[in-house]
Amino acid sequence: MQSVALQPVTMKTDRTKLVDSPDFQRNSVLQTTNLSVYYGGHCAVDQVSLTFPKQSVTALIGPSGCGKSTFLRSINRMNDDIDQCRTEGEVFYQGVDLHSPYVNLHEIRKQIGMVFQRPVPFAKSIFKNVAAGPMRDGVKDKKELQRIVEDSLKKAALWEEVKDQLHTSALSLSGGQQQRLCIARALAMQPSVLLLDEPASALDPVSTAKIEELISQLKKDYTIVIVTHNMQQAARISDKVAYFYMGRVIEHGTTEQIFTNPRHDQTAHYINGRIG
């Protein structure tokens, strides 16, 4: 992954008055500035500015309909295909504004992988599911594909369970396995950022635990942004937390600080309501 290390300087916006500790900014790889998303007239995401430090898990929490999923989707421009949806502000990734018209959309989505709420395996074999990305990317020779598939499945902690049935249909896997297959499929593109949109909300507790454990492992080499309704999950696996309400970031800081003494009473209410 050829990346030009460009450290954007700390960001100060009048509205949120957040002061980030210096070390977070220095190694943040993804940063949004005044990002707003409008569906026709309705403003779903309002002037959100967040930084996502490298090798860390940032959890986006908030009541449903607060725009956290919309915000997540606008990072790798998945909202582009929804008509009457307008995005303003910038998303800086490695110093490049992803919303500028000159950037290659497909390149962005390769480097910023995404996993959805419900597992979405292709109607293909397990091998072909994971190999679909690289093959489309021009990787031709069999051994190289075999290596990528094995490596991705190992990273997604699925290799042991499927290594001898690689050529059966992916639809025969369980819900949790299918979700990990989707993660493996995203990892096969060698992304540097992973966006997870409530990855475990459609899974049973056992699979959810597996996914959470996998995420905390992936933290070592990927920057992860996860949208979740599950407070315990956020507390367990995230390093930073941002609390969204009505499309705006009310509070944003390290997990300990948010969960022990949140600065805004709104955040406190939400967290106590959910955990208390």
Partner: protein, 302 residues
């Protein structure tokens, strides 16, 4: 996947080359015939004969025999009805236009430069359901039946059974001839119509009290061929013109017949068609006719 994509492109390219080859090969027909010529000397340009479905079996049988004698000759015969045949030949789109009516009788067909070749004669006669109990009708009775004045077979001395009239399709040559010579030009009543002889034969054979008209080649045991004014419908009575309900089968060419078209028409008038093939198929040889008839229907002794 790359491979999948290549397949769709390949299929598309295959389709284009096929169409291009197809179009080019029509242009290459001349060179094509050139080769065909070396292969078989007499083979001429493939010809197309279109028209009357009544004449089609005869021309097909004759063409089949002709190609056995000189292989390589390609004769395509299509049906489509006398109307199509006449209009196509007058436009010069085909080599031979088959028709069972005179070109002059069809409006809209410019018969000026059409050359008529009468190759056979088709006799037609009224046929009825076997159990009507009537064998012979006079012309007036026939007109009465088809115009709807006579409603029941018992009025003709047959069984008490309602008469069911089945006409032929409005534009067909068979209907035009029957109305002209059997009904003396009277308009038949509005009744059930069928255009194909096979269907008419089946309906008349199975519907008690049904009556219609067919060409001699369609007579069989399932229907009774009625005698008119005591004359039995067969080859002798037509040749002597005692049986007036008959029509020439015309093979029109645009201007003088030439090439394979001429050879085919000459073959049609030759012995092995007029004497052997025609009787087998219940058509009547034109050479045997003792009378001549023109488009207006005036008969002259030959």
């Amino acid at each position: 996947m790359k491979k999948r994509n290549r397949i769709t492109v390949l299929a598309f390219v295959l389709l284009c080359t096929w169409v291009v080859a197809a179009c080019s090969s029509t242009k290459a027909n001349d060179s094509d015939k050139g080769e065909a010529k070396q292969e078989t000397e007499q083979a001429a340009e493939p010809i197309m004969a279109v028209g009357s479905s009544a004449l089609q079996p005869l021309v097909e049988a004759a063409a089949q025999q002709y190609t056995i004698q000189n292989p390589g000759a390609v004769i395509n015969i299509q049906g489509g009805g006398s109307g199509t045949g006449l209009s196509k030949i007058s436009e010069g789109a085909v080599d031979i236009g088959n028709s069972d009516v005179f070109a002059e009788e069809k409006e809209g067909v410019d018969a000026s430069n059409l050359v008529d070749h009468k190759v056979a004669v088709v006799g037609m006669g009224p046929v009825s359901h076997p159990e009507t109990g009537v064998e012979d009708v006079t012309t007036e009775e026939l007109i009465g039946i088809f115009t709807g004045e006579i409603k029941n077979w018992k009025e003709l001395g047959g069984v008490d059974q309602e008469i069911i009239v089945i006409n032929r399709a409005k534009g067909s040559g068979t209907r035009a001839t029957f109305e002209a010579f059997a009904l003396q030009g009277k308009e038949p009543m509005d009744a059930q119509e069928q255009d194909s002889s096979g269907t008419v034969r089946k309906i008349v054979g199975e519907t008690p009290g049904a009556i219609s008209y067919l060409a001699f080649s369609y007579f069989d045991q399932t229907t009774t061929a009625l005698k008119v004014n005591g004359v039995t419908p067969d080859r002798k009575s037509v040749e002597s013109n005692d049986w007036e309900i008959w029509a020439y089968q015309h093979m029109y060419t645009n201007g003088e017949a030439k090439g394979l078209a001429k050879e085919l028409i000459d073959y049609m008038l030759s012995e092995d068609v007029q004497e052997t093939l025609l009787p087998e198929m219940d058509y009547l040889p034109v050479t045997g006719m003792q009378v001549e008839r023109d488009a207006q229907g005036t008969v002259t002794k030959k």
